[in-house]
Amino acid sequence: MLGVVVARLSLSGRRIKESTAAFCARSRFTVPSLFSPGEPRAYVRRGTGKRAGLTLPASCILGIGVLSVSGRRRRGEASRGSSDGAPSHGAEPRRERTAGQAAWRDRAVAGAPRARRCSELFTLTYGALVTQLCKDYENDENVNKQLDKMGYNIGVRLVEDFLARSNVGRCHDFRETADVIAKVAFKMYLGITPSITNWSPAGDEFSLILENNPLVDFVELPDNHSSLIYSNLLCGVLRGALEMVQMAVDVKFVQDTLKGDGVTEIRMKFIRRIEDNLPVGEE
């Protein structure tokens, strides 16, 4: 039976302080200080509308020669109110969910065209990155590894930003972690809420099902790159982020819409809890 997993998300914990300092030194990044005192009482508007599907004009074929990019009608995002199943645990997770929803709702209301364009900027930048990597590395496996490594580096930094913005408390087990990832983190950064399914009997593996993956909005895989995992960055991000909160996980793609499957499925498996190692000399 899986024991209770305590993820030390407490920001006063020493481990987190060290990693913040190390992270600042490493990346010359200053963590935005966004400790908001109170949780906004968000009130989710249901049915705030799907985004209009847009068809890219044919002229917007970014002629790259490696990955062909073609316009595809974007499926309207799932209405924002529908991300809640009946919660099986108490009030705290509901507050976390509304934090993610509030962040997304504010963004959608404040500047819907702009919000969409920001995600387009990210999508297009990611596409350019993958294209460049495909040119640099001949082998698809190497590209996948490189994307995973880059994702890991991003995840290590992103988790600090996430904790600063979302104020979620400690997660007491892997199920809660899964909830926070799907309902708060994905919502906040990518604007989608994947669903959590396929729990293993031991409770240490689950699947995230993404109906529409914003990273692959304008993308088609050509035939000679059939083993390329296009969104592998996400795996690295999840792995890096969870490692910073003392959880070693294994993340991989099981299904991918780019390869013809109906949905995108990411399988996450908890491996072990990473123990704090005191630095040598400090006892």
Binding site: C60, R117, C118, E120, L124, T125, L129, M188, Y189
Partner: protein, 186 residues
Amino acid sequence: MSKSEMADEALFLLLHNEMVSGLYRTAEQGDGENGRCITKLENMGFRVGQGLIERFTKDTARFKDELDIMKFICKDFWTTVFKKQIDNLRTNHQGIYVLQDNKFRLLTQMSAGKQYLEHAPKYLAFTCGLIRGALSNLGIKSIVTAEVSTMPACKFRFFLAECLYFMHNLYPEVNDINYCYWKLQL
């Protein structure tokens, strides 16, 4: 600015910084073609800029002239991409424009002053390409360069088409963009 907008920005910022460092890491481990990294970043920005500008201007009216296009870039384009407007636009009305941004978003997290100044150009290459791509899909051929004297303020210089013809006479071998940068000593 709401937290949610900053969430996007954080994501793009992290991706951009990781792209820069990833490319340089690859170059170090590979055959050490360091000079090509800036070009690669610029080309990536070019493709992204081309795509972005088509999405943004889908519903806007036709632009009257070059100055109109530059104002669009300074206001709407910059606001959408970097959440703020350009602080200062100067031109000589003969094809050279200088855009000044006193708090460039991709550099604010790095330093405020002269520290790490020598690393700044790699973080500006993508944006230069972005603008060049945007202009190219609006029908303007240009060269965009950037200069930083004090972080996080930076200046983007655009040399638009007619200026390029002039320079083409001075430097007839100008075809490669890198060669342009070198020749212009920017």
